[in-house]
Symmetry: C2
Subunit: 436 residues, 2 copies
């Protein structure tokens, strides 16, 4: 901890350490009202909110007048005594001695009344100050930290993979392209291929960064720029890959339940469903899913890809996340290992989140054999030149290996039980939205 005497700030999130002491708080007006000669100020400082009591006789006529001038989001410092009060939200309040106003805010555009989504998105830089957005992004931070802590404490090395890449991993139609001094470069859709090289160097690696898909679709499950964590593990098969995924999800959810109770309450999240997120998760094959869908009245043929309705149907059958494994080879990427027992299947898996949220994780065991992989690259019409280094990994000490990618924003959406991804990232990039 940085010693606080150097930094003359007390934060609201630390107020319980200062009971009965004099403090100075710096923040903004979240709300204010008066009742005769007493003013009530709800102060927010970005780490919490606290009620401040301003008594005219204590602060004097001038300061009480200036209190009256405060508008929503005006910036000010208050000095006073921290007093325990069980009726105050948070259990403490400030008996104010002095107020210092920094700026009386112009009329703040976001008021407690309802606003349209477009308006709020255009004012995202201000909307972030609202209680609900604040809570979602605090939970996002917790999920990121839990994810990193999980891998760090399990002997994974963080190995950042590049954003600017010459090669194309999954489909060329959804790539952002840029000019790289006379070459074409693309924004990475995944760090996986690099992650495989890293796993051979570090045993267990993860990368965690932004990824990009230029999808011309406006759904509540898609962002053009989103964050993904991708562990990749040498000497790992599909079964072990699933164990890593379920242990990670259990760890993340339990951390959020432990540390973000307050924020989950703001979001009115029913936590009983989250408490059930304990490994092991059920494992069902793609083929079993197809049977389930048919029984459920879906007109679905073996070989097709699940869309949102199918994923929702399947995930609603279970009270915790569920693994779907062994998909048809034809609908999956070239690098996935084929099932040794059935060439038509790949050793891949998805995790569907419960409560109808659908896919949050996709992973697989990777093809470790050089010649098989070479055939696939050729069959898919990919440039051999781009993948030579990737094939090298199968020449110089190839080993069974597996990994997965978890979409951060989809995970936040599920854990917070939101209806749209746009609230889970500070400045969302979607089709038709590049601002602010």
């Amino acid at each position: 901890m940085v010693e606080k005497e150097h930094l003359n700030t007390t934060l609201i999130c630390r107020i319980q350490e200062h009971a009965n002491q004099s403090v100075t708080l710096n923040g903004w007006v979240y709300n204010s009202r008066r009742s005769g000669k007493i003013g009530f100020l709800l102060l927010r400082d970005g780490t919490g909110t606290i009620q401040c009591i301003i008594v005219k006789n204590d602060v004097g006529e001038d300061q009480f007048e200036s209190f009256k001038s405060l508008t929503q989001e005006s910036s000010l410092s208050v000095s006073g005594t921290v007093v325990e009060n069980e009726r105050a939200p948070g259990g403490f309040e400030i008996q104010v001695n002095t107020l210092t106003i920094h700026q009386v805010s112009e009329e703040y555009p976001i008021t407690p009344k309802e606003h349209g989504t477009e308006f709020l998105m255009n004012n995202r830089h201000l909307w972030l100050r609202s209680k609900r957005q604040h809570a979602i992004l605090k939970i996002r931070h917790e999920i990121i930290k839990a994810t990193r802590d999980f891998f760090d404490s399990n002997d994974f090395t963080l190995v950042d993979t590049p954003i600017l890449t010459p090669n194309v991993c999954e489909g060329t139609t959804t790539l952002f392209e840029t000019e790289y001094f006379g070459q074409r470069a693309f924004l990475a859709q995944s760090g996986q291929l690099y992650g495989e090289a890293n796993a051979f160097a570090f045993g267990r690696q993860y990368n965690f960064g932004p990824t990009f898909r230029a999808e011309k679709s406006k759904t509540r499950r898609h962002l053009l720029e989103f964050w993904m964590v991708e562990p990749e593990i040498a000497y790992c098969d599909l079964d072990e890959d699933m164990v890593w995924a379920e242990k990670m999800l259990e760890f993340i959810v339990q951390r959020v339940l432990e540390n973000r109770k307050f924020e989950l309450e703001i979001l009115e999240r029913d936590t009983s469903m989250l408490e059930k997120v304990k490994a092991p998760f059920p494992r069902i094959s793609y083929t079993e899913c197809v049977d389930m869908l048919k029984e459920g009245g879906f007109d679905f043929q073996w070989g097709g890809d699940f869309g949102s309705p199918e994923e929702t149907y399947i995930s609603e059958k279970f009270d915790r996340p569920v693994f779907v494994h062994r998909f048809p080879s034809a609908i999956k990427a070239f690098y996935m290992k084929r099932d040794p027992e059935n060439e038509d299947l790949v050793m891949g898996m998805d995790v569907l989140a419960p409560e109808g949220y659908g896919e949050i994780i996709g992973g697989s065991e990777r093809e470790a054999d050089h010649d098989t992989l070479l055939k696939r690259i050729n069959a898919d019409g990919l440039s051999l030149d781009d993948f030579q280094w990737y094939l090298d990994l199968r020449k110089y000490g190839s080993v069974p290996h597996a990994g997965f990618g978890m979409g951060l924003e989809r995970t936040v959406t599920w854990i917070c039980k939101l209806s749209h991804l746009r609230e889970t990232i500070p400045f969302p990039r979607m089709y038709g939205r590049l601002r602010p």
Copy 2:
């Protein structure tokens, strides 16, 4: 921790927990040699290396023959007993019972002999397995983790800022551009402006992600894609900003000294210089630097920007990182607050790393006044449309605030005492290099 019985792997970095036990290790041949009927195998598994003793009489004729066939980087599993041996590197060795070979590697291109830089860079996906590269990237991970832990434990919220942006922060000539469904988008050079919005919402925020500069220069201090951590703090002035920066650097360096002793030894890093990295750091003004440079025989005029030779000269005068503060306004960005005592200076600061490494941090107090900022945006010919949201922050509860950015790779270069940035990032992107 994930229970290891699910994951039948023992890692070399955990070997001391298994003294006198039977284990199975999975890895690659780092080195092997024979002496009559005894084989010595240096096994690496990405988390460490360990000596394995293969005695012909123990493993039998067939396995001993297959041991002989092993080439550098061949993949194999060994089972045996963990035995303490103070002469073995790491203090333990494995008495092998069985060997299982996964792949005898083709002739590995990177041998213990010297290779040229171009060759090694072209084989970066394999070069990462080498001891020195491995050590550097382990230290990189430690620095990232320490940085995040520092901010997390000081009540900062991680708020990721976008990569795809419509607005231009520092100069238009060094931007990577992409087409965003009919609009122009640029890859972010900094998350700072967004960070300011986040600081007003969260009090203390940091972002930590990749940033991009399309610089057509090939120096050992430039990458086109690099990672930057950027704290931004509401109610913070230049003095406090410097305190945060020095406390952070002290924390990072001490963590590396504590946890990465082994890797620092591999790099033959003289740690006595790192042990001196304790706050407070010296603070000298730009104007004092100009005097120092003149005394040192530099032909340097007040108003100019420091280049590498100047930064090296100044930083070599001190035994720890040094703050240079209050630069000429004319050479610094529009958003920096002017010195209230002298309009020709900005309240900005750089940190120069010792041992001649030069700038690793740049920061400032930001201009908090709406009209002053508006004038600067106009004077710099920036598009008002792009900065309207940024100006909003000065209308709705503006407060003094400050922040800084630390270049991750420059910091790794200094802490590891390397001569070039290219070794500090897994897959470097430089002018003329986009592969692998």
